[in-house]
């Protein structure tokens, strides 16, 4: 099994799906040139600029164009350069991509993938650092995935492109250079299934994207102090693999949710509500959330560090659960 970076795994996934299916098109700002991080580097040379299409800075219209192309038989992959700019395309995503299958009584299908990177990395400030996944997960008709490692990034992207629904594929910029083993061959990860990354008996940590690595490091530290921690990466937040999370909590009786999005109204609230519906009487302690404060992302690197959930907060919170 070769090692790849998260970024290379995404590029390989795009390359494989474009080779496999001539109806897959990539559209976005600067994509034919490789984009700002180099994810689409080399694709236009291989597939031509008619399939790897540079667009003007018109996110809303490009999203609508991709939806229209999907109604006419293509499988577009749209890149939104930063999730902060998905705000400009929300009308098309929410009112058309998400609803056309339902509103048409099943006549239309929208096989659309939206690749977008999110999160805090490199002190880019409030307009290039947000985590907006819970907005998207609130919309019926959209699927939302957030891979935390190279293997899942490739497998989920390939699954997203083959899915007949709009799938928002959220990449964390801070993970682009991280390395990991990626299975050979046609590697697919089903959308809607969580991964148990570390088994444990006394507490469950559910973490997303960039915070998965932080949670795993916290679990190591806690093991040193005698606390056995299970770490779950939902990978897909809509649909959410409720069963895997609930079964874990029934076993451990304690849960902490970690994400980089602000705490209020975040996906942690949804997971908490769901777990209490299914496993309230198994809980020995309140469910806690470790997330960003209810504030925009600051630009200063020192404030940015304060903003992020870190290993120390997780360890402290877990110890609190044990009194």
């Amino acid at each position: 099994m070769p090692e790849q970076t998260y970024l290379e795994a995404i590029r390989a996934g795009l390359h494989e799906e474009m080779s496999r299916d001539s109806s897959v098109y990539v559209l976005g700002e600067d994509v034919a040139l490789g984009g700002p991080f180099g994810v689409t580097k080399g694709l236009s040379e291989g597939f031509g600029v008619h399939r790897v299409v540079n667009t003007p800075i018109s996110e809303g219209t490009v999203m609508g164009l991709a939806i229209g192309a999907a109604t006419a038989g293509l499988r577009p992959v749209v890149e939104i350069m930063f999730i902060d700019f998905i705000t400009l395309a929300m009308d098309q995503l929410v009112n058309h991509a998400a609803k056309l299958h339902y509103m048409s009584g099943g006549q239309l299908k929208i096989p659309l993938t939206v690749r977008v990177q999110c999160g805090i990395s490199g002190a880019m400030g409030a307009h290039h650092s947000q985590s907006l996944e819970s907005w998207l997960a609130h919309v019926p008709g959209l699927k939302v995935v957030m891979p935390s490692n190279p293997a899942d990034a490739k497998g989920l992207l390939k699954a997203a492109i083959r899915d007949d629904n709009p799938v928002i594929f959220i990449e964390h910029r801070g993970l682009y250079r991280t390395r990991g083993k990626v299975p050979d061959g046609d590697h697919l990860v089903p959308i809607g299934r969580a991964a148990v990354l570390r088994e444990g008996k006394q507490v469950t940590i559910v973490a997303l994207a960039n915070t998965v690595g932080v949670a795993l490091a916290a679990a190591d530290e806690l093991a040193g102090g005698g606390i056995s921690t299970e770490v779950i990466d939902p990978r897909s937040i809509s649909p959410l693999d409720v069963e895997t999370i609930v079964e874990s909590v029934k076993k451990t009786s304690r849960m902490i949710i970690v994400h980089e999005a602000v705490e209020k109204g975040g996906i942690g609230a949804e997971i908490t509500a769901t777990v209490q519906e299914h496993a309230l009487y198994y809980l020995d302690a309140p469910i806690l959330r470790i997330a960003a404060p209810f504030a925009p992302v600051p630009a200063s690197p020192s404030l940015e560090k304060q903003f992020l959930p870190n290993q120390a907060c997780i360890v402290k919170a877990v110890r609190k659960l044990f009194g």
Partner: protein
């Protein structure tokens, strides 16, 4: 003047298509007044010449997109009268099983891809269908209908720019009916003729009398010639007027009575009828037969719709996502 000589049979057929839309929408209006149909209805009575003048020239596999006032566009593209009215009435037998309704009609079998409740929202979608058509190289075009209100929305300008830049086979049909909801165009923009925007983006354009069926056909015919030849998009602005309010129940007090009277005298159905009579292309008996056939089809559609079942309760949350292929 039409670009080619139309024979009487063709002309009579065009009148028949306009009458079907008129009778359909008048029936819908009557059912709404009786509370047999509920919801938010935007009728295009008075604008039929644009829908028929455009769609009568399209191929079955061309893509048509509409807006919130699009019953006529769907019918003109060949949507089934019964299934369309049943959809507006919220019944299980409607095109969308009652999940779409008046503003979200989809009649894919007829090439009517979708309407929308968002003003200007389908303009980018039409670009996408045109993008796919260009890649498939089968000569299809995409047509999108929108009103003058959409001309002040961002996606309108972004779409004109991209369509021109990529030479997409799309025809923009602007139904300039002078009002964006309750407000006259003059209070929304200094740009009186929306075709002027097309010039900015280097798109071939024309402004025509949208209540003159043959004038619309001439403009669309020219537009199709260019678009199918691969030279890029065309913009056709049709000056028209809705003879009803913005929505059913809107008393339209913002409109001067004299203005309404003036536009009524330009009613596209009556006007085309007068033209056919002056050319002696149609007899009074034929005229009467066309109207009564249209009204009878609308009556039958109403009976079909109102006797159809409501959607089953469990349909409330089905088809939210498509099954895996």
């Amino acid at each position: 003047m039409p670009t080619r000589k139309e024979n009487s049979k063709d002309l009579i057929d065009l009148l028949r298509r306009m009458w079907l839309i008129r009778a359909f929408e008048e029936k819908v209006s009557a059912l709404y007044a009786e509370r047999q149909i509920v919801g938010l209805l935007h009728l295009g009575i008075g604008q039929e010449a644009v829908a028929v003048g455009t769609c009568s020239l399209l191929r079955p596999d061309d893509y048509v997109f509409g807006g919130h006032r699009s019953h006529g566009h769907a019918l003109a593209k060949g949507a089934d009268v019964n299934r369309l009215m049943a959809e507006i009435a919220g019944r299980a037998t409607g095109y969308c099983g009652g999940k779409g309704g008046s503003m979200h009609i989809v009649a894919l079998e007829a090439g009517f891809v979708t309407a929308t409740g968002v003003v200007g929202g389908t303009i980018p979608l039409a670009l996408g269908a045109a993008f796919a058509a260009k890649e498939k190289k089968q000569g299809q075009v995409a047509v999108v209908f929108f009103g003058d209100g959409a001309g002040q929305a961002g996606p309108f300008h972004e779409s004109l720019n991209i369509a021109s830049l990529w030479r997409l086979p799309v025809i923009f049909v602007c139904e300039n009916n002078g009002y964006a909801e309750f407000t006259p165009l003059s209070a929304h923009t200094k740009v009186e003729r929306l075709a002027q925007h097309a010039k900015t983006y280097d798109i071939s354009s024309s402004t025509v009398d949208g209540n003159d069926l043959l004038a619309v056909r001439t403009a669309i015919s020219k537009a199709l010639g260019k678009t199918r030849a691969g030279t890029g998009p065309v913009f056709v602005e049709c000056l028209t007027h809705r003879l009803r309010g913005h929505y059913e129940g809107d008393p339209a007090k913002y409109r001067e009575l004299s203005q309404l009277t003036q536009w009524k005298s330009k009613d596209p159905v009556a006007r085309f009828t007068r033209l056919l009579k002056s050319k002696k292309a149609i007899t009074d008996n034929e005229l009467q037969a066309i109207e009564s056939e249209a009204r009878s089809r609308a009556e039958q559609a109403a009976e079909f719709s109102l006797s159809s079942p409501w959607p089953a309760e469990e349909e409330v949350a089905t088809q939210v996502t498509a099954d895996l292929p």
